[in-house]
Amino acid sequence: MLDKEGIAKRIAKEVKDGYYVNLGIGIPTLVANYIPENIDVVLQSENGLLGMGPFPFEGEEDPDTINAGKQTITKLPGSAVFDSAMSFGMIRAKKVNLTILGAMEVSENGDIANWKIPGKMVKGMGGAMDLVASAENIIVAMQHVNKAGESKLLPNCTLPLTGIKCVKKIVTELAVLDVLPDGGFKLVERAPGVSVEDIKKATAGKLVVEGDVPEMAI
């Protein structure tokens, strides 16, 4: 089973040389720590920055320089700043190559819910609806089951949707899964020490298992 860092490490292997990448809040943010040094990647922050750098050194925080999670960050040589309309313009126009975000639920046809729990949590969708509606390459980083032990990979989402038929790949503490074009979660890799049976038990939606499923190398 993977911890959060492990999930981030596995997702980092999906990041390719030359990519512009948008990282959501939570586990996706950790992915930045594991992008191989020999590839050239530019991180987009949807509040209006390309070329997001690491956190500043203590005492060098700039209140005018933050990421979409409102954390103080730094800019890098070659960074560019722009307004919020242009930021979502480049997202809508599919200039961003990869979007990595978290989810509360994903359905077997690629629907995603991650912004609202009626009666409990109403914080808003932020940029998530724009991202999932336009991005062609979306990876979800999430826990396979919730705190009550219930699967978050479902036949249909039960929570209010963020977007429909948009998730292509999911990385959880148990597995890497592809969402098939005709529906279903195809099991691609198992986390170290996790059996196909474990994954079947934790997946409420349709799970497609073909042949031997390799253990992931991270």
Binding site: F57, D83, D111, M125, D130
Partner: protein, 232 residues
Amino acid sequence: MNKVVSGAHEAINDIKDGMTLMLGGFGLCGLPEKTILALAESGIKDLTCISNNAGVDDFGIGLLLRNRQVKKMISSYVGENAEFERQLLSGELEVELIPQGTLATRCMAAGYGMPAIFTPAGIGTEVAEGKEIRNFNGKDYLMEMAFDADFAIVKAWKGDTMGNLVYRSTARNFNPVMAMAGKVTIAEVEELVEPGELDPDHIHTPGIYVHRIFKGENYEKRIEQRTVRKKQ
């Protein structure tokens, strides 16, 4: 073409109860904090506020919420504010949550003189309820209307007396598109300079969009999430 006013109180002196305001900023970054303080002292009420976030309990739009001056918020993300959540759950405050890109682009449309935009954001979700959907090249898009705001209130880094504005770093965020979208636009700046001191090639918001400008003093620029790394 001198747009300079004495300060925030003069800038807002014709804002009336029930008006619609746009407020720049992302979280607390690039927030027109001086004008918000003046609004909080003014007692103006029943405001509709269009702003990406709702501030925190004791800073930014949170101050207006605490004073019950806001009737309706139109935002994309409103976490980090307990008073907001309380008023929302109790029904005291009307809230319209919309996607962040839709919010920015509805501002942009107003500033470009276009009545509406088409965006895929929200298709298949509750955001699409009651809205016109058009299919272009096999994909569905929602029609979203340009905002109609009485005042836009923005914060820039530098401005000149003619209202030309330059923003700094990610404090730019919603400010340029909101500056373009108000019937009346108020800009507060950290540095106010004479015409000619800003390079025309470096101006982000041309002064034609700005009606009033003033220099704010002693910016607090509060940080919402201070994240740092240790020096090795």
